[in-house]
């Protein structure tokens, strides 16, 4: 589904990703962990197509298509979804209108008729249950005045509505209390299937108790330096990242 090969990316001339490799297959959940400044959020932004970042080398292949030059909206229409670490507040644009526009843009891209208002509202009702989102929030302006937990649930609600092939959760657990975390994780697990895949970017092991990964990768200094089964996350939680740096031969 996703093949990242020797990816180098920089912002304002500063190289952040320095030869990153990653392969994700349908049905898999990958966790990417790493210390602050390792390039975790950069990876998420580059995959989503944020224009501040420049890909200087390497390739990103998504479902047989080269992502490098693809517009962010086309990536989304192809089935890529980024759950933002800091979801943006958009005053004046209602969640409902925003989602209808997004869904119909995707359908148009795939030569499908727009959803009728009735079918759309039925879908909203069905999917808002996935993250126990108060239906009232759906009619409010996008993220405006939402609590931290509501914003993250709204991200997963959007994910449920858009049914992406590949979801990237960028520090979705940050700032969540345990109840909100459980609801968000539950939503992600409900949406999981053999045909889609998830990349969970996180600083803490805690989220991985709820969203259990098939693979854990350690991102450090712009590269994936270690990969392993889910137990690797526990080891990182216990020992921190210094032993990895030591393994890499760096002076700690």
């Amino acid at each position: 589904m996703l093949k990242i090969n020797n990816l180098h990316a920089s912002i304002d001339g500063k190289e952040i990703l320095k030869g990153l490799n990653l392969e994700v297959k349908p049905g898999e959940v990958h966790a990417i962990m790493g210390p602050n400044g390792a390039g975790k959020s950069t990876l998420a932004s580059v995959l989503a197509g944020k224009e501040d970042y420049e890909i200087t080398n390497g390739t990103i292949d998504f479902e047989g298509k080269e992502l490098n030059e693809m517009e962010p909206e086309d990536r989304a229409r192809e089935g890529l979804f980024l759950a933002f670490q800091y979801p943006v507040e958009i005053p004046g644009v209602s969640n409902i209108n925003f989602l209808r526009a997004a869904l119909n843009a995707k359908r148009e891209y795939h030569n499908m008729e727009p959803l009728s208002a009735k079918d759309f509202m039925a879908l909203v009702r069905e999917k808002s249950k996935v993250v126990e989102l108060d239906p009232k929030l759906a009619s409010r302006a996008v993220n405006e005045g939402f609590s931290g937990g509501e914003k993250k649930r709204n991200e997963i609600f959007q994910m449920a509505m858009l049914e992406p092939k590949l979801s990237i959760l960028d520090e979705t657990d940050s700032g969540l209390d345990i109840d909100a975390l459980r609801i968000v994780a539950n939503g992600v697990n409900t949406l999981k299937s053999d045909n889609n895949a998830t990349i969970v970017i996180t600083h803490y092991q805690r989220l991985l108790d709820y969203i259990v990964p098939d693979f854990v990768h350690v991102l450090y200094n712009g590269k994936i330096v270690k990969s392993g089964p889910k137990e690797l996350a526990l080891e990182l939680e216990e020992k921190g990242y210094d032993w990895i740096k030591a393994e890499l031969g760096e002076i700690v």
Partner: protein
């Protein structure tokens, strides 16, 4: 120099007068205005009141008085609005689209049919003087005590032809505890370089309510200057919504005197400009007495080489205590060649008041655009959604079906999908 200036006004008025037969203003008003015009000149940007707006696009033309015809008012009348309709073409009343008896019963009478032009105020401004000298028609709306008008009064103004002036005068009087909604819309039908010059005087009596919604949507080659003089008595409520979409040069002078206590005054405006448009809103809210509230919200989106001007004055006179006066002007600029001149002014001479004003001019939030795009919404649509959202809180002040009518104009003009 003086001689040359005089000649411009003389030439300008002569072109209008050529085909003008008397009009509807009282003789003394008209003669005074004609005499004043002899001494007057067009303003320049050295005049503070016109600092950002050059009127030479208007003053160098030769506008004529000329009746016009239109075949129907389809698409011009607001669909589903339960209203009494009055139609003017080039400043002349067109009887076939109106039910005169129904209008009379609602207190609407035509100046050209004997109604009195009430509340006329002497003015030093040249466009007011032109109006008083050359007004061809207008309505007198008089809503009697305790009457709540079920139907709106819908005044449709149409310009047609080439270099034609539309001089109109309306007076609106809402008596004690009466209530009315008036909608004024402005259109061009095959019009180039026409000029609408409208004066309206409004008196809202004790306990009365008036909502006036103006939809200015003439084609971009035309000009529009409107002046409203509003007087509010105690316990009254006056709301004006001004939606400005069309016109090469539009100047709105809105002067509101709040003369009685416990009044509410709302001024809302959205202007969405492109090409070479210049839209200038000058507002004055004069709080002369205590215990009143005013809310002013003016928001605009300016694209291409268009210019927006906002000058909003709020006066709080000595002893006008416990005034809550809020004013906000927000602008989003979509192109490097667009410009905004915004000047909010508060003059407060009372000490126990709550007043605020703010002015912002900026661009669309790039983070929000990326967020929308990351969900599959194309960049153009993302920008449109944000622009619509920006003026949305002003448009939300419009009651249905006026709102739906404005949405349909926006859809035709900008391809916006109704929110």
């Amino acid at each position: 120099m003086e001689v040359a200036v005089e000649n411009i006004v003389h030439k300008f008025t002569k072109a209008i007068a050529d085909n003008f037969s008397g009009g509807i203003m009282p003789e003394n008003v008209r003669n005074k205005a004609l005499a004043d015009l002899q001494e007057n000149r067009f303003p320049t940007t050295r005049d503070e009141y016109w600092k950002y707006t050059r009127v030479n696009r208007i003053s160098t033309k030769s506008f004529k008085t000329q009746q016009g015809k239109i075949s129907n008012i389809e698409n011009l009348k607001i669909a589903d609005l339960d209203s009494h309709v009055v139609v003017f073409v080039n400043g002349f009343f067109i009887p076939e689209f109106s039910d005169l008896d129904a209008l009379k019963n609602s207190g609407v009478n035509l100046l050209s049919q004997g109604a009195e032009a009430k509340f006329i105020e002497y003015s030093t401004h040249i466009f007011d003087q032109l109006n008083q000298a050359f007004t061809t028609d207008g309505v007198q709306i008089h809503v009697a005590k305790n009457v709540v008008l079920e139907k709106s009064i819908e005044i449709i103004h149409i310009q047609t032809g080439n270099e034609v002036i539309n001089n109109l005068y309306h007076s609106i009087e809402i008596e004690r505890h009466a209530q009315a909604q008036v909608v004024m819309s402005f259109y061009s039908v095959d019009a180039q370089q026409c000029f609408t010059n409208l004066n309206t005087t409004i008196r809202v009596h004790d306990g009365a309510h008036l909502t006036l919604s103006k939809i200015q949507t003439e084609d971009n080659s035309n000009y529009h200057i409107a002046t409203e003089q509003v007087n509010q008595d105690a316990n009254s409520n006056f709301t004006i919504n001004t939606i400005t979409l069309g016109g090469e040069l539009v100047r709105n002078n809105l002067n509101i005197r709040v003369n009685g206590q416990n009044c509410e005054t709302n001024l809302n405006s959205a202007y969405i400009l492109k090409e070479n448009q210049l839209v200038d809103n000058h507002t004055v809210v004069d709080h002369r007495v205590a215990n009143c509230v005013s809310n002013e919200l003016y928001k605009g989106v300016i694209d291409d080489k268009a210019t927006a001007v906002f000058n909003g004055k709020v006066f709080v006179r000595p002893d006008a205590q416990k005034i809550n006066a809020f004013q906000s002007n927000g602008n989003v600029v979509l192109s490097n060649d667009a410009s905004v001149n915004s000047k909010p002014e508060l003059e407060i001479y009372a000490d126990d008041v709550k007043c605020s004003h703010g002015s912002t001019t900026g661009q669309l939030d790039e983070k929000a655009i990326f967020y929308l795009r990351s969900r599959g919404i194309g960049e153009k649509q993302a920008r449109e959604l944000l622009v619509q959202a920006f003026v949305g809180d002003v448009l939300d002040k419009l009651q249905e079906p006026v709102r739906a009518h404005v949405d349909s104009i926006l859809e035709n003009r900008f391809g916006w999908q109704p929110a």
